[in-house]
Symmetry: C2
Subunit: 185 residues, 2 copies
DNA sequence: GTCTATATGTTGATAGAC
DNA sequence: GTCTATCAACATATAGAC
């Protein structure tokens, strides 16, 4: 038997995708086991409960989102960083229209949960809010927190509309609006 | 036995509240039966399936939302109507922060559903989009649809942030921003 | 029309052989 | 570490007495 196995990674990857596409509550451990090629009973060797697996998914999404923000920081120009983030959303508009924003979706659903998962998911949106606020602060804006809140409100609302009406261009149109807004600051 | 009964109405009311607070998938027919004081087995006399009940809830939300928009039309001034709608959101900011936007929540969740419920829920957001577009059209704006989309994106995103961080003032702050924006048009 | 009892399926989770 | 078999709880939905 191998000392290391990629089963845990495969489980988290499958869960991340399925939670995004179908939602947390609507995804069974059986679905995740099948998608990742791990027998159902073996899932519990890696995760004691479904919530445990969800925590791992949220952690992985944190890492993933952190990587996205790092990619947007290459220029050390805060205004350019924000525009780069909006471009990233536009690039992924097809996915957003089809399945919604993975971060917004998790927060929306887990906010209704009474477990500790709710707070963990909140950290995802908080990470985004902090990064966005930092960019505005580096633009010498005293109202950085307010501006960041406005930007995130718009992008997440745009994702909901795009997903609901299945129209990717809504993400693009709203992103363009926010890019003009940022340029005008 | 009474020819008419309020059981059906009580079931829809209870389902509407529970779907909002806990979500559709996380609410069982047993929960709804208990909350409305109707025995579980009797639910199926009024609704053949859970999806049937969900359809009734969506229809009721359509009526409810229609009533809200009518209340905002009292002045026959389109700009005032839009400001009135934003004031309505601010008034309900505590509920939005606690349970999220009932319309946005339903759309978000049912968008991931493969049944016909998804399309029905979309009509809710579409009703809001149409009304908002009409107001901008009456303001002689050629880009009415675009402006309406921007307004709804912002309010729904603000609801998500307020719900996630449990901060009602986010709804208020963003609504004020959009009121200023509308005044400036 | 109303309600109790129950069928039927799926879920998260466990036991224990290998 | 891995996997099969299975449990117990809960879900939607039905049967049938009243």
């Amino acid at each position: 038997m191998p000392r290391t196995s990629d089963k845990r990674e495969r489980l988290v990857d499958a869960a991340m995708t399925l939670f995004h596409h179908r939602g947390f509550a609507q995804t069974s451990l059986s679905d995740i086991a099948a998608q990742s090629g791990v027998p159902l009973g073996n899932v519990y060797y890696y995760f004691k409960t479904k919530d445990d697996l969800a925590n791992a998914v949220i952690h992985e999404r944190m890492q993933h989102q952190h990587g996205i923000f790092q990619l947007c920081e290459q220029k050390d120009d805060p205004k350019g960083n924000l525009l780069c983030f909006l471009d990233f959303l536009v690039e992924h508009r097809a996915d957003i229209a089809k399945y919604g924003c993975p971060v917004g979706g998790l927060c929306q659903e887990l906010n209704k949960d009474e477990s500790q998962l709710s707070d963990k998911a909140d950290e995802l949106l908080n990470q985004a809010l902090k990064w966005t606020t930092l960019q505005f602060e580096q633009m010498q804006r005293k109202d950085a927190a307010e501006l960041a809140q406005h930007l995130l409100a718009n992008t997440h609302g745009a994702s909901l509309l795009a997903n609901t009406f299945n129209e990717p261009q809504i993400v693009k149109q709203e992103a363009e609006k926010m890019k003009d807004w940022i340029e005008s600051l």
